[in-house]
């Protein structure tokens, strides 16, 4: 499991994370919820080694990853599906998948087998395997970004706002995929603003505000919390 303790991270002099602690249990979907600018993406970037932590620690199954650069972190089993997908637009679908396996140093046969598996999982990607990723629809690009992340064979998949910029029907589909992947055993740390969608899939919630964790609990506890209900679920009492 992923264990984050007292993580402090900053851009220049400005502390964005002020001591974040969270656990993402194996085989579960853990969701980090929070408003814009609260530090959700910064948390993911610091875990993934893209930003270096000022203090605190990131442990994956007991191994300390805190000071490792991003390429090493990926090869230890943490893959990031970035916000806005960020597929490689003028590489075809298959090349995008290969790029996802870059850090693994796997044999060509292993990579081909994994790609074949993912095509079975995402038939729409197979239909477009020779197309430039930039020509795919938003939903397909999100699928590709997820599949590309899986190509790293991660122990945990970090997903940064997979619903952003997608039509509601597509969002439903992406969340169904997230749930299915989890049922197949993929551990996921999900960052979302869309609390309503996150509630349909996640097992554990953390709320981050102003660079600090202000709530943690089960989906039930999240729904019970009056303040969160008003601010993030926008729901009237049923």
């Amino acid at each position: 499991m992923l264990r984050v303790r007292d993580l402090v991270s900053s851009y220049g002099k400005l502390d964005v994370l002020r001591g974040i602690s969270l656990d993402a249990a194996e085989g579960r979907i853990t969701c980090l919820l929070g408003p814009n600018g609260a530090g959700k993406t910064t948390t993911l970037f610091t875990i993934a080694g893209i930003l270096s932590a000022r203090s605190g620690s990131v442990l994956l199954n007991g191994e300390d990853l805190t000071r490792l650069p991003a390429p090493k972190v990926v090869s230890r089993g943490i893959a990031l599906v970035p916000e806005n997908r960020l597929v490689f637009p003028r590489m075809n679908v298959e090349e995008n998948l290969r790029a996802g396996a870059y850090a693994r140093r796997a044999s060509a046969a292993e990579i081909a087998a994994d790609i074949a598996d993912l095509y079975r999982r995402f038939p729409r990607l197979e239909a477009r395997r020779d197309q430039f990723a930039g020509t795919l629809s938003g939903g397909e690009q999100q699928m590709l970004a997820i599949a590309r992340g899986l190509m790293a064979r991660p122990r945990i998949l970090l997903m940064d706002e997979p619903s952003v910029g997608l039509a509601p029907l597509i969002v439903d589909e992406i969340f169904r995929i997230i749930q299915e992947l989890n049922a197949e055993g993929v551990t996921i740390l999900l960052v979302e603003q869309n609390a309503r969608m996150a509630l349909t899939v996640a097992h554990k919630f953390y709320l981050i505000e102003g660079g600090e964790i202000t709530f943690s609990g089960s989906p039930g506890e999240l729904e019970e919390d009056e303040v969160i209900r008003r601010a993030y679920l926008g729901a009237q009492k049923e």
């Binding site: 893209i50 650069p69 990926v74 490689f88 790029a99 870059y102």
Partner: protein, 299 residues
């Protein structure tokens, strides 16, 4: 008609070396969205090192070739460290100016190495000249074309079918996403510089072995030819660089034949100017939009 065909053939042969120079610019532009103005100068310095051995020790032409390649690669790595690695990614103007400064520095170094104006460069050809019907194929130029074709073929294989090629293309597409995949982008950029320096070194050697002489102006000349060929074909496009190089060679050959030597460069500049006005992205370049437009604004 025979003249026209002969000129076209000559143009394609010499243009093949322009294509290699253009590839050097286009790959660096792809990876960094920057123009490396010191590219020609680093080739020139490498060739000067080879010439120095030739002048002082009368070494074999193959030793000159090897020295030229190795020293061009070293000079390219030096340029990358100083102009591009040391300068922040968002400071495009700073790295362009510093690549200009390094150009001057490399030229100084070359002049210190060999202070005279002109030196003889050993000629090199695999096969002699031969005639095919009414057409003459000069040995040096055929060699140049073969070398260039081999380089382009090797580059194509490298970029399309190797792990490094995949990383290089990923960094060209999106350095951020490439970093998320665990690609060491700084290392890829350094390797890209070493690679294009190797390509440039081959081009430089082939050109100089055809001219059989070298002057300190070679750096300026190579930068100009490479930049023009890249702009003609389309920035950031490998087929574009090849096409632009061949086109530039053909135009120059015709202009020289029909208009005279003094119009050779002028016609190339006119063509470039027309291209920049009518189709700023080059022949095979994408229409400039989005990220590219942003990159241009930053440059």
């Amino acid at each position: 008609m025979i003249d026209f065909v002969q000129n076209t053939v000559d143009g394609i042969m010499f243009g093949s070396s322009y294509a290699l120079l253009a590839i050097g610019f286009t790959i660096v532009f792809g990876v960094l969205r920057r123009i490396n103005l010191a590219f020609g100068a680093s080739i020139m310095l490498g060739a000067y090192a080879g010439t120095w051995l030739h002048v002082h020790y009368q070494v074999n032409v193959l030793v000159v070739a090897l020295t030229t390649l190795v020293c061009t690669v070293l000079a390219g790595i030096y340029v990358e460290r100083l102009c591009f690695r040391a300068i922040r990614r968002d400071a495009a103007l700073a790295s362009m100016v510093s690549s200009f400064v390094i150009w001057m520095q490399l030229e100084e170094a070359a002049v210190h190495l060999l202070p005279e104006r002109t030196y003889a460069f050993p000629s090199f050809f695999v096969a002699g000249s031969f005639e095919l019907g009414p057409f003459l194929f000069r040995g040096e130029q055929t060699t140049m074309l073969v070398l260039a074709a081999l380089m382009v073929g090797a580059l194509h294989l490298l970029l399309r079918h190797t792990r490094f090629g995949l990383a290089l293309r990923a960094v060209s597409e999106s350095p951020r996403a490439a970093a998320y995949m665990g690609i060491d982008t700084a290392w890829v950029m350094l390797c890209a510089f070493a690679l294009v320096s190797l390509v440039g070194g081959v081009a430089g050697f082939a050109i100089l072995a055809t001219d059989e002489q070298i002057t300190p102006f070679f750096g300026l000349w190579a930068t100009f030819k490479g930049l023009i060929a890249m702009m003609l074909g389309g920035m950031g496009s490998l087929p574009g660089a090849v096409l632009g190089g061949l086109l530039l060679g053909v135009i120059e050959a015709h202009a020289q034949w029909y208009l005279g030597n003094e119009y050779k460069d002028l016609s190339a500049y006119l063509l470039l100017f027309a291209m920049l006005v009518l189709r700023p992205g080059g022949i095979l370049g994408q229409r400039i939009h989005g990220r590219e437009a942003l990159a241009f604004r930053r440059v």
